[in-house]
């Protein structure tokens, strides 16, 4: 295996960790509402939601490249479809967790939570791209997806 593939993997991991470390700034850069953002912060959701936003796309990319790993499913639009499902799944899980935590705290921020998750699509999609470029090199049938090496 080429050394540059390990560099891609290391960069992917580093970018993911950086995203987690700077999660509050990253999220508040794209969505911040008075009241809601403070409660989100106090409830510890800036820890939980980024973990979901990392775990689901990385798992989806791993499933695509190593479990599905099929020549009949190696076109760019197949990859895009998996990315879309991963992003959708991320925001659905994220919204459910957000809603559950806020309900336990007696908070009612349905519209803001939905808007936050829509904004989170940006990070979920980006995370899938990062995960894909970090791990695709080791896939036996899909390493050329979405772009040839």
């Amino acid at each position: 295996m080429k050394q540059q593939h390990y560099i891609y993997l290391a960069l992917g991991i580093a970018a993911t960790i950086l995203f987690y470390v700077l999660r509050v700034q990253a999220y508040e850069a794209i969505y911040s509402v008075p009241g809601f953002s403070d409660q989100f912060y106090n409830a510890g959701l800036y820890e939980m939601i980024p973990l979901i936003t990392i775990a689901v796309p990385w798992a989806a990319a791993a499933i695509y490249y190593f479990v599905i790993n099929s020549v009949r499913f190696d076109r760019w639009y197949h990859w895009l479809m998996v990315g879309g499902i991963s992003t959708l799944l991320t925001i659905i899980i994220g919204y459910s967790v957000n809603h559950s935590v806020f309900s336990d705290m007696g908070l009612s921020y349905g519209a803001e939570s939905a808007a936050f998750e829509l904004a989170n699509m940006v990070w979920a999609a980006l995370m899938f791209v990062i995960a894909s470029f970090a791990m695709r090199w080791w896939s036996t049938n899909c390493r050329h997806t979405p772009f040839p090496q």
């Binding site: 960790i17 008075p34 106090n42």
Partner: protein, 478 residues
Amino acid sequence: MKHLISLLLLGVMTLAVTSCGSSPLDKAIKRVLVQQDTTQAQFDSICSIIQQNPDRYKQYLDQQGQVNVTELQALIDRIGADLRPPIRWDIAPYGQQELSLTIYFERSGSMVPYDNAGDRGQLKKAVNDIINHFPGRKVNINIVNDNIYPYQGSVDQFIQDRNIYASTAGVGNSAFTDFQQIFGAILKAQDATNVSVVVTDLIYSPADATDVSIDKILNEENSLATSIFRQYKGKSVLVHQLMGDYNGKYYPYTNRPVEFRGMRPFYLLVIADTPVMDRMAAQKDYSQLMHPAEARNSYRFNQSEASVDYCVLPDWKDNAGRFRVDHKDATRLTKCEGDKTTGVLCLTIAARLDGLQKDEAFLADARNYKLQSTSGFELSVTPVTPDMITGNNKMYLEGKTHLITLKGKFAGPRDQVSISLPNEMPAWIAQSTSRDDTNTAANGFSTTTLGLKEFLDGIASAFGTGGNYTTITVKLEN
């Protein structure tokens, strides 16, 4: 493949380390703060987490295995400071010693008519309420006039005694009240965990005052108060004025008794070390002592400037224009901008003012606040009512007592708004003072006390009262 697995494992471990930093103790404290459930029960549950894991939390235990309140407070402060808005929970009262109460019940001639069998007995009720609602178990009662004499019965007997003046007849000399002797002895005897309450009409009636001018008596009273209290600058005195039925002989300064039937003021003087007074002000358990429901007026001497909990409401119905509360410093507002149409910036501060020991009328009156700002903001004050608190704003409003609204045109680029509550002698003291009490039919006799202002001015002079009760600061930037 080995490299691939190693790198992935490294990534997962790094994420695990950065995401799982807080301990069960940290989580429990954060939960209490976020839910604003800062009660004795929650304090006890946090202590039990520490005591059940002595090895893990040994820095929060002292050598005897008891929770080190100072260390725990530091941890709570750290966690509270990281919340939005920052929250402070003072746990010091939970680890403090129980307070004792000493009642000094004046039994001079002019006090007896406050407790007639046919009247309502407000004076005795007020004293009974203080004893009954005092959280500590140690209560002592003394009878005072020319000196201090221990009450011979039990506390229960005192409470049940329907005619306390009859049962204490013959104790001391009820012909005069020796303020110097009484207050000197009370202040000298008081220890750091004691609260003294003097039940008195605050009428200075020295021996041999016949043919002495009223000015001379009142000047003497003023000097006397200063000379007694100036020796105890670490003490605080809280004066409550109450009204009670009065039926019997009243002794004016000329010492020629006259019959009077009607209402008369009487006073509860709560005396304690300043930290004890601050502690009682912060704890609801002492509300009967600090804010008796029947009190007509109150004022605390030697009240140092207190820092109160406050925060700017980021989302409130009265807000106009735009601003953003800084996440690191909740008193700093950035991106301040007036409303696009009117140019008006309106923001609301939720503050907890109940620890200032001022009555609601005083706190809700915007004229009592001093506002400093270069933008010419106008200030209004509204009490927080339960219907204002919703799930979404609970974090900001829970525990807060007043909403201070600032409205004006922010000129920018910067403004530091300072809202203070000046500590000034209240008007009721002068309004409740008379300089001649010989005519019981005079207008205002039933609501005034001879020489009250002189005596209280003397205390104020001893303590050097002044400054502010509190100051709230908000920094604005655009």
